[in-house]
Symmetry: C2
Subunit: 417 residues, 2 copies
């Protein structure tokens, strides 16, 4: 089944609000195999709404529309749709009672304009809103249909999975072809090189669709199989994934929902290891990424963000002479940083980064974008040097990425000095 | 002039990527007086692109399209548009040289598929991309036009203001009324309360347009004046801004391009003060935000990201008994954190944060979202408690926001214990 999505609201056209409902709805529909053919946004205006529905019906069996269901004068969606399809508006008593009850429960004063939200086009099936007063509705129109739900993202995130998807599954049981995907996450190759490396793979012959999704600093490759049989889909994806791994294996660090910081956290938890960081040029970003994971207090002990040289000396015991002789941005210093934070913290692993994020601070031998990374475990200390060509924010992101990747490889037993 | 926006990419229809370009473009066009009538998203597919352009041309003089300009096989936009309007594709030498130069500068190996990005439909004006290899183009089609730019948001944010808007202004000089804007940045009030507080202001009478832009965790209010005369625009904006300040002054922290971390950095530099942080629940985010500013090494000394209680005790000298008696998340602890990092670092100011970002760790008296912030200068220590109702990432963002805001107010002489 092909579906269109229509989001309604003047705030979408003025740029005041970014439309987050479309991507949420599309993402919920994708695994059901229902294909979104087009997404449109129009203002609260009758001709625009009618024109958009007509256009979407050209390529879709149904349209899911959001927004314009509130009690105020500029909320026109229900009336427009009734008008567009020649339906009267009819009061739905259960909806009215539900809305009145909700006002009473929340101790809100009832105003008469709220009654408007209990009217639906003739022939519509009202859809209760689990999270607000604006009910949605399903309206069949000849052999097509429109489903209208409220526009508040928090309400969409309840009414769609709880009311709309079950309704669609019951109305169109045979219509949801299965689809299966594998996401392969790569780092360290530009999109064009990923593409070139896969140029000789006959994905079409395997009945697999390929999408590239740049996601700085990563590239995500999504393989999708649409065959009827679950076994056929699985088989196609296994073959296609193997071809990708054969060509790009060393650049793959994660699959599907896994993230770099999530994987690092999972390995540290499994191995019951505590991590301490010494960050200079990343300025706390590695710690921020790690602590975005719920439960990170299990394995993350501390980060010493030693921006000044004094902090490096004082907190990590790095001799001033080392910094003087080799510089704060040097392999010698980063090794002492990793070993210093390991020793001071009593953690199991010490990870350290020092570099030049830019725009200033570069020299001929150590230009902007230069970074040194070291990982110490008490027995050995691994260190690496990288250079990136970007601006301050992207350099910081890349510095944190290579440091976390060094740690991930170590935890997987792939990294040696 | 009416304009349509078309965003192109399978990732938009699959829900993998939310379309942030449309709202950015709409927001940039709004102050110029050009009206966006419709926004559409379609996949990388010829019929869909052509159908969407036809539909948008019904209500718009021109269409701004994004996406599908990459070097890979699934990037079809340029070819589709050439085909749709019966144009040949022609190699544009300056674009090819620019792309090759960019590869050389970044030390990236050249692959032949990149040449594709230097081909444009006959009759098109290529638009250099200041931030990437995918140039855009302007293509007149009878008395209408389409402008195509890349889909990477970072690139859109450069090419639109630097190339597209100047081109449109020069092509349609009568169409773009002069405009001047003031952006007022607010924190601590939901959009509906900002709206209600300004309900009695006669902006229309002052000839000023108002836009609300939620920008989590901030709300940005953009005032735009369109009068012919520069003096009249200035005058209107001064009046309107004064009305906003009268009603919402205490929630305003910045104007126009200023950011919270940028202002903090400017004051610290001016006053020649050094800052040290002790971060628990923010996990390095405050340090990350501060060090995103070029030149932050002038005033940022260190952050001790003390995630474990042991780190708090060891690095900040907080007695275990205090943590035992009051908890790691308490006013008593945060005050000792701020004073501890101030003393240990020898900086001029110590800023500390401890709280519960969630999802776990909340208690009845200290639920998820509770945060304590303290600022010590050696003479006095200010502390505050806040509670926020969000998820882990948004709570971390808010915790960093209130801490930086406390520091900014102190630096402005507004914060007292």
């Amino acid at each position: 089944m092909n579906l269109g999505i229509l989001t309604i609201g003047n705030e979408l056209l003025s740029g005041r609000t970014a439309d987050s409902n479309s991507s949420f709805i599309a993402k919920e529909l994708a695994p059901l195999g229902w294909r979104v053919t087009k997404i449109m946004s129009v203002g609260d205006e009758e001709n625009a709404i009618k024109g958009a529905l007509d256009h979407l019906f050209l390529s879709s069996q149904g349209v899911i529309a959001t927004g314009g269901l509130g009690p105020t004068a500029d909320d026109l969606t229900t009336a427009c749709i009734a008008q567009a399809f020649g339906r009267k508006l009819i009061l739905h008593e259960p909806a009215l009672r539900d809305i009145q009850d909700r006002f009473a429960r929340l101790n809100l004063p009832w105003t008469e304009n709220n009654t408007k939200q209990a009217f639906f086009p003739e022939g519509a099936t009202p859809l209760p809103n689990p999270a607000g007063t604006a009910w949605g509705f399903y309206l069949p129109v000849k052999d097509q249909f429109v489903i209208v739900i409220p526009g508040v993202p928090r309400e969409v995130q309840r009414i769609l999975p709880e009311k709309v998807l079950p309704l669609l599954k019951s109305l169109f049981p045979g219509e949801a072809p299965a689809a299966e995907t594998v996401t392969i996450k790569l780092f360290g190759l530009p999109e064009a090189r990923v593409d070139a490396a896969l140029g000789d793979v006959d994905f079409a012959g395997m009945d697999v669709q390929v999408g590239f999704y740049p996601n700085f600093p990563e590239n995500h490759l999504v393989l999708t199989a649409h065959q009827e049989e679950a076994a056929a889909r699985k088989n196609s994806l296994v073959l296609a994934q193997a071809e990708v791994e054969k060509r790009l294996g060393s650049h793959i660090f994660a699959y599907n929902e896994d993230t770099l910081e999530g994987l690092v956290g999972r390995y540290l938890t499994e191995k019951q290891l505590k991590l301490a960081l010494a960050e200079s040029c990343t300025g706390g970003l590695i710690a921020h990424r790690l602590t975005n994971q719920p439960g990170s207090s299990l394995y993350f002990d501390r980060s010493l963000v030693v921006y000044s040289n004094q902090a490096k000396t004082q907190l990590l015991g790095i001799p001033e002479e080392v910094i003087g002789a080799y510089g704060a941005v040097s392999r010698e210093t980063v090794i002492l940083m990793a070993e210093g934070v390991l020793k001071e913290s009593g953690a199991d692993l010490g990870l350290a980064v020092t570099g030049i994020a830019g725009p200033a601070g570069g020299t001929e031998s150590k230009p902007v974008g230069t970074v040194f990374v070291a990982l110490a475990d008490g027995n050995q200390t691994i260190s690496r040097q990288f250079r990136f060509p970007w601006d301050r924010l992207r350099n910081k992101t890349l510095f944190s990425q290579v440091a976390l990747l060094m740690l991930l490889k170590y935890l997987r037993g792939e990294n040696t000095p």
